[in-house]
Symmetry: D2
Amino acid sequence: VRGASARVRIRVRYGETDKMGVVYHGAYLPYFEVARVELLRAAGLPHRRLEEQGTIFVVAETGVKYLGRARYDDEIEILAWVAGLGQASVRFEYEARLAGQPPLLATGFTVLACVDGRGAIRKLPREVAAELGRPA
Amino acid sequence: VRGASARVRIRVRYGETDKMGVVYHGAYLPYFEVARVELLRAAGLPHRRLEEQGTIFVVAETGVKYLGRARYDDEIEILAWVAGLGQASVRFEYEARLAGQPPLLATGFTVLACVDGRGAIRKLPREVAAELGRPA
Amino acid sequence: VRGASARVRIRVRYGETDKMGVVYHGAYLPYFEVARVELLRAAGLPHRRLEEQGTIFVVAETGVKYLGRARYDDEIEILAWVAGLGQASVRFEYEARLAGQPPLLATGFTVLACVDGRGAIRKLPREVAAELGRPA
Amino acid sequence: VRGASARVRIRVRYGETDKMGVVYHGAYLPYFEVARVELLRAAGLPHRRLEEQGTIFVVAETGVKYLGRARYDDEIEILAWVAGLGQASVRFEYEARLAGQPPLLATGFTVLACVDGRGAIRKLPREVAAELGRPA
């Protein structure tokens, strides 16, 4: 599957660097999340609409591979796409690069599980699956 | 006023350092908060008990002066105390040092406002004020 | 003094909210920093140029007053300006609002001290002071 | 391999919660890191000693599975152990639980790569490998 996708640019904040002068490895999770949120918004599924219809996504699994280093004030480009749709889950994948430069800084993925207001697993609504599965 | 007080030790985490190799200036707010939470717990006012009786504290103002530098894996000692009690607010003050060393790393303060569940200012409950005003 | 200024928009990230559903009070320090960095860049003083000429700014003091609440995915507009120039320091002030809405979310300030590579206080270079003191 | 191990307790800080009232998924990476640092210290390999002998560890890969939810002020127990030793890398694995309770909150792993001061991969020093491979 290669469904909906989005591309965002994020400038590295000072507090996101660590004592090696590079982006702290933990900062990629919020970066990926920014891209995922934009993907959902672009697919017509902003979190407010999802919440109103009772679709809550929780992070079930995540992973990151680190391939390069970004520094303070660098601009990072994140590409996010829907890489898989389960009965009650969505898999997103990511690539991070310095803006305009081909080498990868990091790759990663997140699996979101769909739950209801009490935290029980629920099926991904058909229209949500349709929007996420449609290549942008 | 010099009311309830508490002392905590916090080891600097890697992600809390910045590219100068020292603790990011923004990290002192969570550090002070850890000390404030321990103060409340030691005064018999853990947040769960406060919430149950409808006392919600929100941060109204904060400030920090930076006087020294801490590094990765350093152990920081924070002293927190109640420095003032208003009708609907509490002022906490803080001193941060490297554990066992007299020079100050930072000083700071936080003013918490007391609100009810809808966010309206409410008077500090008498027993909460009594606990906070009592020197430990 | 009302010197150089800049205006930035920042979208609230999920991890910057707290269990009250609003922006964690500590998140305003990185937000203000993003605005300050853009101010310096717009004034022709990107951090790389400052570092090359040996001008290092360290945070000496900061403060925030909280007046409203922002939520996840809200867009916050930060106005930053140079409010004072000392012999070896610069005072920045900030106002944060929901984008396009007049009420203030927060106001704040940061005093940066100018130091050399060994951490000793040094005079603010004349051309840096000139750029910062000039209204944009 | 089940080599050196360590167990740490971490109290959830307010700013580490998100608007769902639970620990932000990105907070587990710094939690795991705290456990890993204690493991290295307990194995006689504090970062200062490693740095002095020119052994620098950088994060090459990480992953987390989320199985439960922790809340503000909960105490989390992290167990970390060395799960594999490569020529130039170390694999750590983690289990997170509410202190004293068997159900898992999260599991995870980190692969650290060993590099020299210029960032080139270097072999894991024999004595470092010996310390890490020895069950505690």
